[in-house]
């Protein structure tokens, strides 16, 4: 492995940094989802706001904001703008959870140990809360507090839209439903098809988090390419770890149902590679993440630790 195993001190430092971003993000999101209408808004209807707050507040590791803030720091961007962009990304991520949990989609009743939005409220409210969170993500990214150069904000808007729309996350969810055999007869996907599906469904947003940090820091092309390579590696690692947790985890720790993938006939790399093969792949992806950031030296230690965190997480 290109980097030594983490020392205990470093691991503590990493945990502190992760917690700091999570706390700051929670505070920011609470403020962004306040009751006061902004210029251009007429009113903020109470029930819709409550559903959005339910979807977004109260937990989550805030992994995507963390990656955004840390890549931004690596590229020398101010922290406040990165935190705000991270909050936007978290709104977008949470919208996708709300819609994916709907009965017509994955039909989940539990998320982070709490009722999903359509259970706590109702389906119509959940659909609208997801829509409004998606919209809010772009609203936030466009704010001058994210970066004073409008070209930078526009680049973030474009990147987020591409990562999350037809050719990204939404498209990936469509492929995932299709792979379950909903619309046509089910057929086993090959490893390459599964990897593409997952690159779209979950990889694209994680990769965006890293790219966004580089954009905010106005990094040069070689740095951007390195960070993008890192983002692609941990995006894959994240999904494999997630699929492993569905096999190996328990629902109490996870706060959501497990063993759902096999039951739904979902295509995962764990089913394609086996549990042992999946663990080996994770090790290879950690090495790939390290190699991608080698050019940054010790400045990238936190992001290298993040790769291990993503690959080895237990919830």
């Amino acid at each position: 492995m290109a980097r030594m195993e983490l020392t205990k001190d470093f691991a503590n430092d990493f945990a502190a940094r992760l917690t700091a971003v999570a706390t700051e993000t929670e505070t920011l999101l609470g403020r962004l989802l306040g009751g006061e209408p902004l210029p251009g808004e007429t009113a903020r209807p109470e029930r819709l706001l409550a559903a959005m707050r339910h979807a977004v507040l109260g937990g989550g590791k805030r992994l995507r904001p963390f990656l955004l803030v840390e890549t931004a720091a690596l590229c020398g961007a101010p922290r406040d703008g990165a935190l705000l962009a991270g909050a936007a990304l978290e709104c977008l991520h949470c919208y996708s959870l709300v819609h994916d949990d709907l009965p017509a989609m994955d039909d989940d009743e539990l998320r982070r140990g709490r009722p999903t939005v359509h259970k706590a409220f109702d389906q119509a409210t959940a659909i609208l809360a997801g829509d409004a969170l998606l919209t809010l993500a772009f609203d936030i990214l466009a704010r001058v507090e994210v970066h004073d150069d409008a070209n930078v904000r526009i680049a973030l808007v474009t990147e987020l839209a591409r990562a999350s729309g037809l050719g990204g996350m939404a498209g990936g969810q469509m492929l995932d439903l299709a792979a379950e055999g909903r619309f046509v007869e089910r057929r086993a996907l090959g490893e390459i098809e599964i990897a593409m599906l997952q690159a779209m469904k979950t990889g694209a947003l994680i990769r965006f988090a890293c790219r966004a940090g580089a954009i905010l820091g106005q990094a040069g092309s070689p740095e951007r390419a390195s960070i993008d390579r890192y983002g692609a590696a941990i995006g894959q690692a994240f999904q494999i770890a997630d699929d492993l947790l569905d096999v190996e985890g328990d629902s109490a720790t996870l706060g959501k149902a497990t063993a759902k993938d096999a039951a739904a006939g979902k295509a995962t790399l764990v089913s394609a590679l086996g549990v042992k093969g999946a663990h080996a792949r994770l090790d290879a992806l950690i090495a790939e993440a390290d190699a991608a950031l080698e050019t940054f030296g010790a400045k990238a230690d936190t992001l290298c630790a993040a790769a291990r965190f993503v690959a080895q997480r237990r919830n």
Copy 2:
């Protein structure tokens, strides 16, 4: 009335202008929803793309793009950028139709004389198609072809987000469902509450169309204020005309079900003002639209005609 009744020549000219924008918008949307992935997209899944095309292509008056293009022309903005922004707005409008038609929302099976997206495809696909269209709207607005100044594009992103999210269209739909008595006991709304609900649910996007034209033309504050006043007036007129059609129209001409509002117990200004009172209000709103644009003189004739078109439409 501040302006003479339309001459036959002028009416023909107006119809030609409306058709031209509709045709150009259709072409643009067809191109935007092509199969080729853009930079930053992985692939465009066929079924999702087909559902998005079903939602967006093949008809509609394209009223919002028309208003955007005509206000942009009034403010001296190039037509191509306005058409592209209009296509973005139409994607956003169509997403709202797809989600509003879902069984959990208004439960409609017919739209523009064709099956709604969840009938032609399925609910999961319809939810994702709406999500992806909403995302695409921001993707398009951020493109340099809309305007070469990133500050102008960012202003459009912000305005569209505010008009369509929690404090705008999505919030208005939430209030509308609440007014039907879904979540709490139904109570009759007063005229002011109905007007606010409608300003959010349908008014905000029509008003955005007009404001966006002024933003693209980088109009000064007084011009922006005039155009905004016009947009607010025709936004209201649009909704009253829509509610009147639900009472007076027939479903064959409209291509969707009628008399649904009363059946659903919807709060409309027609029920608050009566049919005669609603027609009188429409006349007052046309006069208000004319007054708002008086400062532009004859250059605003097309937009004044648009106000009549919106208020007096039969489908």
